[in-house]
């Protein structure tokens, strides 16, 4: 998570986990957003609340190039403008009906959402391929402590020790109902074969338990 005075990119999900015509909830420091991919494959991010009756848009559905609310089918285009109100098929929705959108990039197999106005592109992940995402019920400090190394400015943690090669990309930590949680993406060297991928998955599971145990025991500030 590169931080500068104007903004930064948060890695919220892996590209492979949002196929065309799907929407998922994703987490940025401001809260939950609706992250969706259109039929044509374009990625978009909007506020997770339909302004009509407050329904969460991440529970909605994607048709064509629009995200629709599951409650009454109000549909929003990539730009956030309401393009359809099914109760009034003949009506062109006024310009004023819209949802806030976030700049989003699909790069290196990772979906990045802008927080603020980042001055640069998302960090390059050359040589690395995303493997999976997981949510750890602990904050970044607990994860860094369990890893034994701090994350760099891009939010990357690279661990190389006996029998353990692991590369993690940390998202921001969020407060949840059960405490703090952090979305973590596991990366492997591009071209890795099944044994390395399985090992990475096991290693991150071990790290997750360490971080969560330490966090639950209050060992990490």
């Amino acid at each position: 998570m590169r931080s500068d005075t104007t903004g930064f990119w948060t890695p919220v999900a892996l590209s492979a986990d949002i196929p065309s015509r799907t929407v998922i909830p994703a987490h940025v420091s401001a809260g939950t957003i609706a992250l969706w991919r259109s039929q044509a494959g374009q990625i978009a991010a909007s506020a997770d609340r339909c302004p009509h009756r407050g329904m969460s848009l991440s529970h909605g559905f994607v048709r064509g190039e629009a995200l629709s609310c599951i409650y009454h089918g109000w549909s929003y285009g990539m730009s956030g403008h309401c393009v359809r109100i099914p109760a009034h098929p003949g009506l062109t929705p006024p310009e004023t009906i819209r949802v806030a959108t976030h700049a989003v990039r699909d790069a290196g197999g990772v979906v990045w959402v802008a927080e603020g106005t980042p001055a640069s592109d998302p960090p390059s992940l050359d040589g690395l391929t995303p493997l999976r995402s997981l949510t750890i019920e602990a904050d970044r400090a607990a994860i860094e402590a369990a890893a034994g190394v701090p994350a760099n400015a891009d939010g990357l943690i690279e661990i190389t020790r006996d029998g353990e090669d692991l590369c993690l990309l940390l998202s921001g930590s969020q407060q949840s109902q059960t405490g703090v949680r952090t979305v973590v993406h596991v990366l492997v060297a591009t071209g890795s074969h099944a044994p390395q991928r399985i090992a990475a998955s096991r290693n991150v599971e071990r790290l997750r338990r360490m971080a969560e145990t330490a966090s639950a025991n209050g060992n990490v500030q």
């Binding site: 009509h52 329904m55 599951i70 089918g73 099914p86 109760a87 009034h88 098929p89 009506l91």
Partner: protein, 288 residues
């Protein structure tokens, strides 16, 4: 709110009657539940008469009507609203049971008043695309009875009820006679001259939690009681998936918070009526 003075704006709703259980399920052990934040017990005495006990052991007002036990944590000055159809011969009365929903009791009622969601939430049952249009209808606050009424509501329904065999355009009338209760009058396929009655009685457990007690008075001699109950339970469980994911959980009465259209006339009238009477338990008054 036991033991402390409730905020004045809540007083209006404290003195209302609310459903707290089914008469058919009264027992000596009692149902441990809550009413507007106060723990209550709804039990039957040796003769099967309901007794409702409040948090500090005080005996609360009680009435039996429409298959349900009604009570209040305040001092009701009015009787429970009338439903004349409840005394009409030939109707079957259906205690649907209870659905617990983590939402404002007012949001639960507002959803019940809404038809535009049928194609998306009750897909292929109460609505289906491309039949999404909500035709003009009338909604008003009737001054003589001081109730919200919506009339001439029409909607295409693939399976309007358990007894419907195919798609029909159903006509609806809605009534809100109490802040957490609504009565729906609906086209009755077996008896075109009559209306089926489906009610939503909502027990406010807290401002953001409620128990929904649907009840029906139908002309339907064929469908089994089990099927009638299952049909309504299915509908309300579909509604719950919406109600528990609306933001905010309380009903916003600030007009800037949500955007209604012509299809929402009933909701607009309901919100206006709630505001007029200070029925704001479960409402959010100022945008946060």
């Amino acid at each position: 709110m036991t033991g402390s003075d409730p905020a004045p704006y809540r007083q209006a709703m404290l003195d209302e009657w609310y459903p707290v259980g089914l008469v058919s399920q009264l027992d000596r052990a009692g149902r441990h539940t809550a009413l507007m934040g106060e723990p209550i017990v709804v039990a039957g005495d040796a003769d099967g008469r309901p007794i409702v006990t409040g948090g500090n052991g005080r005996i609360l007002p009680v009435k039996v009507r429409y298959g349900h036990v009604w009570s209040s944590v305040g001092a009701p000055t009015k009787d429970i609203f009338p439903i004349p159809e409840a005394d009409q011969p030939g109707r079957r009365f259906v205690d649907v049971g209870v659905v617990r929903v983590r939402c404002s009791p007012l949001r639960a009622v507002e959803n019940f008043l809404d038809i535009a969601h049928f194609p998306f939430v009750h897909t292929d049952v109460l609505g289906a695309e491309p039949h999404t249009e909500v035709l003009n209808y009338t909604a008003e606050i009737r001054p003589d009875v001081d109730e919200v009424w919506a009339t001439q509501v029409k909607f295409y329904q693939p399976q309007a009820s358990k007894s419907a065999s195919g798609g029909i355009t159903t006509e609806y009338m809605y009534r809100v006679p109490a802040p957490t209760c609504s009565v729906l009058y609906k086209t009755c396929p077996p008896r075109p001259s009559e209306w089926d009655v489906i009610t939503l009685f909502v027990q406010p457990l807290a401002e953001d939690r409620c128990d929904v007690w649907p009840w029906m008075a139908l002309f339907d001699d064929e469908t089994s009681m089990t099927d009638l109950i299952h049909f309504q339970q299915m509908i309300f469980l579909q509604d719950r998936s919406i109600l528990e994911n609306q933001i905010p959980r309380l009903l916003p009465l600030d007009p800037g918070m949500e955007i209604p259209t012509r299809a929402d006339l009933t909701s607009i009238a309901y919100r206006r009526w709630l505001k007029r009477h200070n029925f704001t338990y479960g409402a959010q008054l100022v945008a946060r």
